[in-house]
């Protein structure tokens, strides 16, 4: 299934965060096997108010609070998914998923290979920095999961994708990690797309399908999440300098849309990879390696990476701002790639 939004009749612009709520609500309405659990999600509606009103609509059997037990919660999700339930689990912050790590990488991820039994579950992970929240509430830990076969990973950059990717993730028969970016919650707006398959319970799976957010001829920027927007900003600056960037939003980080990446690089001959996560062994390393293996003949210049330096996220806003990738750093990398 292709995940591009169908022409939607909706015109109302909704926030990224509200489209997360909407997707979850629509999926819970469409399929009664879907249930939702996490810390403080029921009466309180979660720290970002994503499930406000859900308890009233769906009742305590479909949405409930968990104790602070990330591992227990993921394990319970796996067990119920084996019986055909479709759990969606909220991590209060993406940072805390490390406490449920084993259940994801050793239990959920390997189950289908070991047992040929689907484990349809979704973990929602409010991730990312830029919000002055320090080392334990700002992490972008998606690459930790990309190295583990058996997990799918999505990371919406736009309000439309926040909706589409969550619905597709819930219908996917595999464990899917849905990385939602806190910085984008109230900064991105878009329509609520019409979900391609409507409100049926027909199964639909995620297929890696990167989106070209800006077509361009001179250089390919491969990115995802918040950095899509910072890359687009950099592309505007560069356009004024006569450098025409193609900006690719990966959307699905595992499995990667290798074809989309290679096609663009074959066209532009230049590649810059951008992400907010720390650089070493990040998704960017994989993208870079794919290009270096499969498109080297087209490549004319270094594959630059712009990413967070290898350090925890500092609390003070000025320290964090200095460390974060930004349009200036991206533009500088693009210039270096082009001028090579």
């Amino acid at each position: 299934m292709l995940l591009m939004p169908k022409a939607s009749t909706a015109t109302e612009q909704k926030l990224y965060v509200d489209n997360i709520s909407a997707a979850l609500r629509d999926e819970m309405r469409a399929d009664e096997n879907v249930y939702f659990m996490g810390q403080d999600v029921a009466e309180f509606g979660g720290p970002f108010n994503i499930t406000t009103g859900f308890l009233e609509e769906f009742g305590a059997a479909r949405i409930f609070n968990t104790p602070i037990s990330e591992s227990g919660t993921v394990g319970i999700a796996v067990g119920s998914a084996l019986l055909g339930r479709r759990p969606v689990v909220e991590m209060q912050f993406a940072d805390f998923v490390s406490c449920g790590f084993n259940q994801l990488v050793n239990v959920a991820a390997k189950m289908y290979y070991r047992m040929e039994q689907p484990v349809p579950l979704v973990i929602r992970l409010p991730a990312g920095g830029g919000v002055g929240a320090g080392a334990f509430h700002s992490q972008n830990n998606e690459a930790l999961f990309a190295h583990t076969p058996g997990l799918k990973i999505v990371a919406p950059a736009t309000a439309e994708d926040a909706y589409l990717l969550l619905r597709a993730a819930i219908r996917d028969p595999n464990p899917v990690l849905y990385f939602e970016h806190k910085y984008l919650y109230r900064r991105q707006k878009g329509v609520t797309p019409t979900f391609p398959l409507g409100d049926t319970t027909a199964s639909v799976t995620l297929e890696a399908k990167a989106a070209v957010r800006r077509p361009g001829a001179d250089v390919t920027i491969v990115t995802y999440g918040w950095m899509v927007h910072r890359s687009l900003e950099a592309a505007e600056t560069l356009a004024a300098e006569g450098i025409d960037c193609e900006v690719i939003d990966l959307r699905v980080l595992a499995p990667l849309d290798t074809q989309a990446i290679l096609e663009s690089v074959e066209k532009t001959s230049k590649a810059v990879v951008v992400h907010e996560a720390t650089i070493t062994c990040g998704i960017g390393a994989e993208v870079s390696a794919l290009i270096a293996e499969h498109a080297i003949g087209y490549l004319d210049g270094p594959i630059k990476r712009v990413a967070y330096p290898d350090q925890p996220v500092p609390f003070h806003k000025s320290l964090e701002a200095a460390a974060l990738p930004n349009p200036d750093k991206i533009a500088a990398a693009v210039r270096a790639a082009v001028e090579w």
Binding site: S69, V74, I76, G79, R114, V119, L290
Partner: protein, 366 residues
Amino acid sequence: MGKAMKDAPQGVLSRAAQLEMHLFMRLAREWDLRFETMYLTGALSKWYSSVGNEGFTVPAATAIEAGDALLTLHRDSGAILRYYLDPDALFPGLLEAPGFPLRKPTTADSHDLLYRLSCQMLGKADGFSGGVERSYHYGHLDEPNGLLHVGMISHLGAMIPVAAGAALGLKQRGTDRVAINFIGDGATSTGDFHEALNMAAVLKLPFILIIENNHYAFSTPTSQQFSCSHLVDRAVGYGIPGVRVNGNDPEESYVALSEAVARARRGDGPTLIEAVVGRLRGHSQGDDSFKQVPPALVEQYQREEPIVTYEATLLERGVCNQTYLDETQARIKSLLIETIDRAQAAPDPDPNHVRPIFADGDAPHA
């Protein structure tokens, strides 16, 4: 053949029930001894023994029925065989009457299951995991036949939340089905033990956790694992009942399990059961860990072991005679030899076939 004797039974079970319980205990024991022999003759590279656990694994699986979920570890062949198999199909005429007439059995073909299970032990293509997983590390979910079996995850403790999740799934379906899960004393020190039991209690899940306390985790005695007097002392910390049973006594175990299952079916939440048994083998067959068990303890464990003691009880009670026991053992042995030999001759997995990692067949890497 030497029929079982006719006197009224003593103990909590009917005569027929005692004989059915015994049949599966003996079946489990012979199953194990067969693979142990294969290990010793080099036909098998590794073997984890269930010998000594039959006294509670068989009763536990007897306390549940088709549609309930079973989650096992590496010493629970007794529960698996009991859960899967129909005694009349495998041993026609052996049992005079059904021991547990109210119990709803699973309905898959017993001969086929026993063959596939044998293949699974041997890593063959016809094993439940097609050779992808070792011995008890597999699952077999066949809902139409009432089979909901999830085998072990190596990471100790990690099974427990998964089992609690199975219980949640059953509860969410609106049935009165339950999930039971076995774990060793060693796994009680894991964080998952705590998180899962606590959540199961809060969510009032139909879940029974059975700790098989055989006094050792690999080489480490329980004195180096925990400082509470008994592992069931932890139940109070979760606000759930905790029951300590003599795991060598199948009838005591059955009563405790049945009560826990009934409680779970009523919607009253989980129970923690500690089945205390002896350690009769090393951690895995042939490793040195058994040397950590003092000889005096080994002797005691052997004296108390469930098959010998239960057979003595049955004889003493006059439930059956020695001829019955001998013939039962002989029939089991020949069935197992035949089935396992067939499995040994079965094809190995095709190395060119790669199992998908995603349920929708998505390719992982270009």
